[in-house]
């Protein structure tokens, strides 16, 4: 009996001594931390994506708590996070528009012509250095999924050689925009339903030769739009999302189906 009692007592005794030592040390060498930092950090999503411009959620929380950063910088958390942060910081929250990323290209395999079989590294940046990539259109999606890999939220998928954004998952951090060698991904207000999904700046005929659904710059949508929200520059139409009222008239007149309707999610 005593054979087992001695080690138990010894361990317990040691535990007590170390415990007291640690308790003393934690009081003696305590570092004062602003409790707000941990509170702000609590409400942040913890994705560490860096979209706020800081090295991660911790760094951003510190900056917010110190009053160095605005509370609106986290695109991932959206309104909820801003409101909670405003509560923690005791300041008033201003509404921020929810954004989503959109890939301005519709050139999936069935739509765009393929120049050659590519058998190099599966990476858009690498493929784009060789004749701009295997797709005939030098402006469109390369389709090797570099943006898909860059996304921390699984909000991008490759479908038939074309990257697509899943709006529900997109947190508008902008990582994909950085990753795309063709720079065809942009952030748009989530409420906007209509987007010209083409980035080709060639003349209409040339663009159409390469891709079935290219914007040919005909300007029909521009004329049709009652809000003057559409401009055609370099044979490619562009919608000004601040002016767009989601009437959908542009979609009806587009001869090549380059304009796409996105169904807003709740």
């Amino acid at each position: 009996m005593s054979a087992i009692l001695i080690p138990i007592l010894a361990i317990a005794g040691l535990g007590l001594i170390f415990g007291l030592g640690l308790a003393f040390a934690s009081k003696k060498f305590e570092v004062k931390v602003d409790p707000k930092i941990s509170e702000v950090r609590e409400v942040l999503p913890g994705a560490n994506c860096g979209a706020c411009g800081y090295t991660g959620c911790d760094a951003y929380a510190e900056a917010v708590a110190a009053g160095d950063a605005a509370i609106t910088l986290c695109p991932v958390g959206g309104e909820d996070v801003i409101n909670s942060m405003a509560e923690v910081m005791g300041i008033e929250a201003k509404a921020v528009e929810k954004m989503v990323a959109r890939v301005n290209c519709k050139g999936s395999w069935e739509n765009v012509k393929i120049k050659f079989d590519y058998d190099g590294i599966i990476d858009c940046e690498s493929a784009a250095t060789l004749y701009g990539g295997p797709s005939a259109c030098a402006y469109g999606c390369v389709g090797m999924g570099t943006c898909v890999k860059a996304c921390n939220f699984g909000a991008l998928v490759l479908e038939n050689g074309l990257a697509k954004v899943i709006d529900e998952k997109c947190s508008a951090c902008g990582k994909c925009i950085e990753a795309c060698p063709k720079r065809i991904i942009e952030l748009v207000p989530a409420k906007s339903q209509y987007t010209v999904l083409c980035s080709n700046l060639e003349k209409g005929g040339e663009a159409k030769k390469k891709c079935e659904v290219a914007c040919i710059g005909c300007g029909k949508c521009m004329k049709e739009c009652p809000f003057e929200a559409i401009t055609v520059k370099n044979f490619c139409a562009k919608i000004d999302y601040e002016k767009c009222k989601n009437c959908g008239k542009c979609l009806k007149v587009c001869p090549t189906n380059a304009i796409h309707k996105f169904v807003p999610h709740k």
């Binding site: 120049k115 590294i121 701009g132």
Partner: protein, 436 residues
């Protein structure tokens, strides 16, 4: 037997099938496209417009920049289009399309240049449009004018031709040896060079014999027989093997008192000084498993690739991969409508057996790539940094020092796409540098 050797390198199969094929000419194509980017440096601006008539040797593109070389028309005819067109480097560049009239009338500006001093010599070389014909395409006149305070005492003539298949420079040695010697003499005289060394790989005994005769007549010139090891013809490797001087990373040959010229380039210098005809044609090796008659063809610059292949009897079967340049460093082409440019030295067409790129497997860290890297890099570590997109790692393992010779990819038992990934890595580093 061979004296100094650079570290690393790989013994690639030679495949010099066309070594005994005398250069053949070809008919004037009906249409040629001359891109305005044919060299390293500033692109040229077209000096002709649609509808103009041009003659052989007329300047059709030039630039004010120092690091640039003018571009001349290789045919006589009418300009039918000026604008962005697909070029062999993989992008759309401004090009001049000329419909030929077949007369090949020579432009009045083509007269032998008058040269009295180094300055005039350098400007004559610039006017000739000469760029490094070995493949890199660096404007030659820049090498002729060493930076202040640097003395160039050694001219290294590059006749190594270490890439498999290519025999264009070899044929130059055999067919144009007199031009080579007079070219060397001209450069030596104007630049005040004390010593000339010609580097040739030992798999070209005939060329060595011919060049030895040249060297005998002039005690400034010596011949250095080099072991056939890829990349023996890379500038820094060649300088070390022929002179024992080491060019530090990020430095130029002029920093160790050397100037390196391709053997076809020196030979062209002699021809230009004699006739005044600028660089408008080029000898190209056409080879590969699906080419009907592998040959050496003298091609006008701007000739579409299709016509060059047709001159060699076309294809035995549809090619799977077409490469402009050597198989180690060349660029795959997807269209036969792109044109031959100044630094094209080979066109290769392969079937699927030879042309297929093997799929990658995991790195087993055997270190073979480290053994063969002539630049003393660690290819496996760079590859890891590229996969992880780590700029820190790329800089640490000095991806920018890579000369993209492809030796590591050649030996890798896991068939990793090493050199391709380094190109990607260089892009990442450049992008990061541009951000700052």
């Amino acid at each position: 037997m061979f004296g100094r050797m650079f570290k690393g390198g790989v013994a690639v199969p030679h495949r010099k099938n066309t070594a005994n094929c005398e250069t053949i000419g070809m008919d004037i194509p009906t249409k040629i496209v001359i891109p305005m980017v044919q060299h390293i440096g500033a692109p040229c601006q077209p000096t002709v417009k649609k509808g103009d008539t041009v003659k052989v040797g007329q300047v059709i593109g030039d630039s004010d920049a120092f690091v640039s070389a003018p571009i001349h028309s290789s045919v006589s005819g009418t300009v039918t289009n000026v604008g962005p067109m697909l070029a062999a480097n993989g992008s759309h560049v401004v090009s001049v399309e000329i419909e030929t009239d077949g007369k090949q009338e020579v432009h009045e500006s083509v007269v032998p240049p008058e040269i009295n001093n180094l300055q005039e010599f350098v400007s004559a070389i610039r006017k000739s449009g000469l760029v490094g014909l070995g493949g890199a395409g660096f404007p030659t006149h820049i090498k002729m004018l060493p930076p202040k305070g640097k003395k160039i005492d050694m001219l290294v003539i590059n006749a190594a031709e270490c890439e498999p298949y290519i025999t264009a420079d070899y044929r130059e040695c055999i067919e144009n040896s007199w031009s080579i010697i007079s070219g060397i003499n001209i450069v030596v005289e104007h630049m005040g060079i004390e010593q000339v060394v010609i580097g040739v790989e030992d798999n070209k005994p005939e060329a060595i014999e011919v060049l030895a005769k040249i060297a005998d007549k002039n005690d400034k010139i010596s011949i250095k027989k080099l072991k056939s090891l890829y990349p023996q013809g890379a500038e820094k490797m060649l300088i070390y093997a022929t002179t024992g001087r080491k060019v530090p990373p990020g430095k130029l040959p002029s920093d160790v008192g050397c100037v390196v010229m391709n053997i076809t380039s020196v030979s062209f210098v002699a021809d230009y000084i004699k006739t005044g005809m600028p660089l408008i044609k080029k000898r190209i090796t056409v080879d590969g498993s699906v080419v009907f008659n592998p040959s050496n063809v003298e091609v006008l610059i701007g000739t579409p690739l299709e016509e060059v292949f047709n001159r060699c009897g076309g294809f035995k079967k549809p090619p799977y991969k077409i490469i402009m340049g050597g198989p180690m460093m060349g660029v795959a082409q997807y269209s036969l409508q792109t044109s031959v440019i100044k630094n094209t030295n080979a066109l290769l067409a392969f079937d699927k057996v030879e042309g297929d790129l093997p799929s990658e497997s995991a790195c087993i860290r055997c270190g073979k790539c480290v053994e063969v890297c002539p630049m003393d890099l660690l290819p496996l570590e760079i590859n890891r940094a590229v996969v992880g997109k780590s700029v820190e790692g790329l800089n640490k393992f000095k991806v920018m020092d890579c000369i993209e010779c492809g030796s590591c990819s050649f030996v890798c038992p896991a068939k990793r796409h090493l050199v391709q990934s380094f190109r990607l890595g260089k892009g990442i580093v450049r992008k990061q540098a541009a951000k700052k």
